[in-house]
């Protein structure tokens, strides 16, 4: 069957069982969009208002569903607008395929209108990328892009296609998707050593990250913690992997992690790091992190071993495979003394009501939790609200807390919420944002409206750029350089202008009433929550500090 390059793009998407793509059309990608017109009913295209958010939507779709997110953009500015979205996915190991088009091959290298070398631009933020200027290479490049995105440590891949290739024709034969590259499996001798260390330890702790979510190893993790009677602490990327009410769950670790988690790691004699990379937001002081502990790391990516923190033993493996082999070798024990100590530390919490406002972040988050079910997907932007959501939400399921962990992308939230809602229409999607983050991406409301997505956006509005404002308060002598923008935005009117519903809440009762109303709506709703600018994200360990430097109040 002879097909055009554009048709091959559509056919390969169908081969890969892709039924939804996010994107924005433009000159060089016109042929593909024209082809999409003929594929209506098979491939659904969600038009964003900006390519960055189309990329965040593909990312949110992937985080919520586990499938590969797909995004389209035209050449030049269309392609460069994807960069932040691709980088966000790269830092959090999210499978994504970005398909961009470029100027015709005859114009490549001549600084043609809307020409950019997007493969060069995205080289450091993709697992791999392809520049396709020959029709013969197109199908394979696309197929490999999907294979690479889902293989090993997942991540984004970009395929840039010249416009002439999208019009050229070639014989096409349908193929089954390429198998993902085999995951590294745990070496039994190494696993025996890990088991021995756990069995010998008096104060062990598991510190786990996004790799456990990616490997679907929640069940095995809970089983290990139960059997070896050891606590677990998690990074933001692993929120929900272990249910919040699991007795072994110590809460979030790191800069804004729980006192119990940070103390436990500091005092532990064994730290088992699972699918996590000792980021500088966790190992704030890499030299003093878990200073008294033997550190064991299990990760699928060999290059994560000894990258940030030097470990005593490492296993390069898919986490699920490693845990499945490890659990039978671990002795069933009770570590009463250690667990009692942790229980004591767990009492020190940061859920305080602070500031002079009538509505506090803690109340907002807990109220949302009380009014939504366990399947709800919570999406955040970046800043104080993100940390409050990470700290106070009752995470119960993997893939239910979507946040930009590695890159810390303000403006990530609304696009990602749209992607999650498109991917999981049967679930509720709640988007937490701050007025700072939301000003970066609120134009995406038009996408939510056009697609009638019932996303509820909870805006923690303190009228300052809260996280930076907090740092300036604590570390910069209250010199509030550019963090008090004095914006007059009326969020209720803005969403009404877009065609959605808006509410304002100044106290817990108003918030609860607004949220209940929002739950009844079939389209997007924004709730503007008036909170004090003096609210703090606590606890906090300053950059480079240890648990001894923790600020709790």
């Amino acid at each position: 069957m002879k097909l055009t390059g554009s048709e091959i793009v559509a056919e390969v998407l169908l081969e890969q069982e892709v039924d939804t793509v996010f994107g924005y059309p433009g000159g060089t990608i016109l042929n593909i969009y024209d082809t999409l017109y003929s594929y209506q009913g098979k491939i659904r295209h969600i038009l964003a208002s900006h390519e960055q958010h189309a990329a965040h939507a593909a990312d949110g779709y992937a985080r919520a569903t586990g499938k590969t997110g797909v995004v389209f953009a035209t050449s030049g500015p269309g392609a460069t607008n994807l960069v932040t979205g691709i980088a966000t996915a790269f830092m959090d190991s999210i499978p994504m395929v970005a398909i961009t088009c470029n100027v015709p091959d005859s114009l490549v290298g001549r600084d043609a209108f809307q020409e950019i070398c997007i493969t060069g631009v995205t080289m450091p933020i993709t697992k791999h990328n392809y520049f396709v200027n020959k029709i013969e290479d197109l199908a394979d490049a696309l197929r490999n892009a999907f294979r690479i995105a889902q293989s090993g440590r997942k991540g984004p891949v970009l395929v840039d296609i010249t416009k002439d290739v999208t019009a050229a024709t070639i014989e096409y034969e349908k193929q089954t998707p390429l198998a993902v590259t085999e995951m590294p499996k745990a070496d039994m001798a190494d696993i025996e050593k890990v088991a021995e260390l756990i069995n010998k330890a008096h104060r062990p702790i598991v510190y786990f990250g996004g790799g456990v979510a990616a490997s679907c190893a929640s069940k095995q993790l809970a089983e290990l913690l139960q059997k070896a009677d050891m606590p677990g602490t998690y990074t933001m990327m692993a929120a929900g992997v272990l249910s919040y009410d699991d007795k072994k769950n110590l809460g979030l670790i790191g800069m804004h992690g729980s006192v119990a988690s940070n103390k436990a790691v500091d005092k532990a004699d064994l730290v088992l790091a699972l699918g996590t990379r000792f980021s500088d937001r966790v190992a704030l002081n890499m030299k003093k992190f878990a200073k008294d502990a033997t550190i064991v790391q299990i990760d699928i990516d060999k290059s994560e071993i000894n990258k940030n923190v030097l470990v005593d033993l490492s296993v390069v493996s898919d986490v699920k495979d490693a845990l499945t082999k490890l659990i039978p070798l671990v002795e069933k024990v009770e570590r009463t003394e250690w667990i009692d100590k942790l229980r004591e530390w767990k009492k020190v919490r940061g859920d305080k009501k602070e500031g002079n406002a009538k509505l506090h972040p803690y109340e907002i988050v807990t109220s949302v939790c009380d009014l939504t079910d366990k399947e709800t997907i919570y999406v955040t932007d970046v800043g104080q609200h993100q940390m409050w959501a990470a700290q106070y939400l009752k995470h119960t399921n993997t893939r239910c807390f979507l946040t930009s962990g590695g890159l810390g992308t303000m403006g990530f939230g609304y696009g990602a919420a749209i992607g999650a809602q498109i991917g999981c229409p049967q679930k509720r999607v709640i988007h937490f944002t701050g007025d700072g983050s939301f000003h970066m991406n609120l134009a995406e409301a038009c996408t939510a409206i056009s697609n009638n997505l019932p996303i509820i956006t909870v805006i923690m509005n303190n009228r300052v750029l809260g996280m930076v404002y907090q740092w300036q308060t604590t570390f910069y002598g209250k010199r509030y350089s550019s963090t008090t923008p004095e914006r007059k935005t009326d969020f209720v009117k803005v969403i009404e202008g877009f065609g959605g519903k808006g509410y304002r809440a100044t106290n817990p009762e108003e918030f609860e009433a607004a949220f209940k109303e929002a739950l009844k709506s079939e389209g997007p709703v924004w709730i503007d929550c008036v909170i004090s600018r003096e609210e703090r994200v606590l606890p906090m360990i300053p950059n480079g500090g240890t648990v001894n430097d923790i600020i709790v109040g």
Partner: protein
């Protein structure tokens, strides 16, 4: 932590942009390259990059594991001094007239170099060898006026029959236009 110098062999797909993928990875991870050579191998689909790098053991492991992750990289390993041979090519232009030319020629001969160009006021010397030998030669001719010089950086290969897997198949090499 003590630093050491290592020679690393990287086998990559022989395609456009591959070198920049490898080099940009080094750059963005903050690794400094001492020298780099690259050329096709007996398998025309595979190129070989030889990188010399000075760093701690941790940095060296990071270089290898990070580079290994690149889709275009087929094999990567260090060429240990004990079981590898390293060679480097030097071209150096030295000011020399008929008064001192003979003396210079003697040094070149001792180092088994070759004079490949001669003018009334200069010679161009070609020399291949282990980097230490080239350092030694440069030291010997430092009393002359060096007009310009270039070194290729190390290229290296393992001793014995051990061959990288990606180069094992038999391939015909296009002899191309050979030039002297």
């Amino acid at each position: 932590m003590t630093k050491r110098r290592e020679v690393i062999s990287i086998f990559v797909d022989n395609q456009a942009n591959v070198l920049s993928r490898v080099v940009s990875l080094f750059g963005r991870r903050g690794f400094n390259i001492d020298s780099l050579t690259v050329s096709a191998t007996n398998n025309p689909e595979i190129s070989r990059i030889t990188i010399v790098f000075t760093g701690t053991e941790q940095a060296l492991n990071q270089i290898i594991t990070q580079t290994e992750k690149l889709e275009v990289v087929k094999e990567i390993f260090t060429l240990e001094k004990e079981n590898s041979v390293y060679r480097e090519l030097l071209l150096v232009k030295i000011r020399a007239n008929k008064m001192n030319r003979t003396a210079l020629r003697e040094v070149v001969d001792i180092f088994r170099g070759k004079i490949i160009d001669l003018s009334k006021e200069s010679v161009v010397v070609e020399m291949t060898g282990a980097p230490e030998k080239i350092d030694g030669f440069m030291n010997m001719v430092s009393c002359y006026e060096i007009i310009e010089m270039c070194r290729t950086g190390i290229t290296g290969i393992k001793r014995g029959l051990a061959t990288p897997e990606c180069c094992q198949e038999e391939h015909e090499i296009d002899s191309g236009d050979l030039f002297d």
